[in-house]
Symmetry: C2
Subunit: 305 residues, 2 copies
Amino acid sequence: MTEPSMNGTGLHDFPYDQLEAFLDGELSPTLSGSYPVWEAARYSLLAGGKRVRPRLLFAAGALLGPLPKEALPFAAALEMVHTYSLIHDDLPSMDNDDYRRGRPACHIVYGEATAILAGDLLLNRAYELMIRIGRENPLPGVLRAMQVLGEAAGGEGMILGQDRDLALEEMPGERVDISDVLWMSELKTSCLIRAALLMGGCLATAGDGVMDQLALAGTAAGIAFQIKDDILDCVSNRDTLGKTPKKDQLAGKKTFVTMVGLEGATALLGQKASEVDDALDNLKAMACNTASLESLMRALLERKN
Amino acid sequence: MTEPSMNGTGLHDFPYDQLEAFLDGELSPTLSGSYPVWEAARYSLLAGGKRVRPRLLFAAGALLGPLPKEALPFAAALEMVHTYSLIHDDLPSMDNDDYRRGRPACHIVYGEATAILAGDLLLNRAYELMIRIGRENPLPGVLRAMQVLGEAAGGEGMILGQDRDLALEEMPGERVDISDVLWMSELKTSCLIRAALLMGGCLATAGDGVMDQLALAGTAAGIAFQIKDDILDCVSNRDTLGKTPKKDQLAGKKTFVTMVGLEGATALLGQKASEVDDALDNLKAMACNTASLESLMRALLERKN
């Protein structure tokens, strides 16, 4: 069950199997019977993703000492939000992607209507879960972590990123600037990556100084991951990446590679990676234990698929 | 701005204009610029619906005395969740409805992709709003009201109702029983109607006895409203109802009218209305001020369009 591509990164403290079991439990309705919307949600959520955002939450939560017990449910909620966004983004009217995480996309297996509902279910379930935890333990850090995820996922965050992605796709290439693609990536990818780090910080009741550096690291890392994705999408093939390659270029999508070429994208990736390093250095200077976060960031920025 | 069909129902205490202004404010992003997803969400949310669920929340909140100040934002969140469900239900892959609230449906005006995102935005915004209020004032009743809405809207509530609706539609008529349609309606309609009443109760810190009667009233009223809708859908025409009539029958949908005929549906409506009356009587016997709730229920059950 252990996720292969994250092995050997010094992250043996991430409870992968525990998270999978928790997600499985949260996606088991109390009602008996079999329902397409639940099957579809389970199909997409329990497809063995890399769980990047939960790992980031845990790594940030561990900066200041022992991990707060709310880390597991909040990491699960975060992964649900991420998975819902993938299901909806893959729909025919959106990015029209047939493959996801190495398998046919949710709407290919369950149909469009059920895929839309399954996304809705996962988004709603994430909030149900966090609200349940918040009711049990209404600490300021817990309620703040809920708010961080809510705002990052919303219409001024990730959802606006998808709106911008769709808008850029329809614009002629000469009217699109690299700054448009940077902003779109910041919304579409960085918002949730930054939220992962900030949620870990909230749950560990980090102070403003630490939270500021987590925000900087998350923003830069999100863009870096997106550039890395674009580069891999350009050079990989479907078998190793698990999604349809080179589709972006064909669909007129504006990616970092289509905007500034492979070389330009690689240079920008280096720049964003060094912004992440700066933030990690600043966290270390604030007596944070950055070992987990550092090795995780390195693994994510140097991955080959 | 006052919503016409609710006039003269003794509900002059419902702050219709205040709710509209609040919804408008919540749907105004802090970012400057114009974005399709925000325009689409505003188009659907600010279309002048009857605001039935907010009215029910207010009427239930007023049973025990002065209305708690959280009633307005929670009523707004509830209406956002309702509106998101309408946008997604109307999509071509779902119920494929071209009209809603007397106007072209969201996806007709803004396209499918933006309509899906606008629904996502509204659902997420509802939680952002409630979480903000919950952080400001983490009282047990406030957090409980959040949980009530979350569970009602989720995969064991409204979303499962839409899943059941889609499943019944594909089944041959002879395999569908009236109990299937009752359960589907309970999930798809009653869950949110009941949540409206229970949220009012939570915010007014009602005791278990009152909450039980609100749950009974909400469940019966939700089914009654659905039967009423089915009857009106059968006898009305598009101009007075604001949505495409008789489409349900053509699409093989299983409604109360297609299942037990107009007469049977009318009898069932009477039965559910009397269950609502019983619950109201019980609330009155518990010294609740039921005047608003009674006149609202009457208006809803006796409406002509």
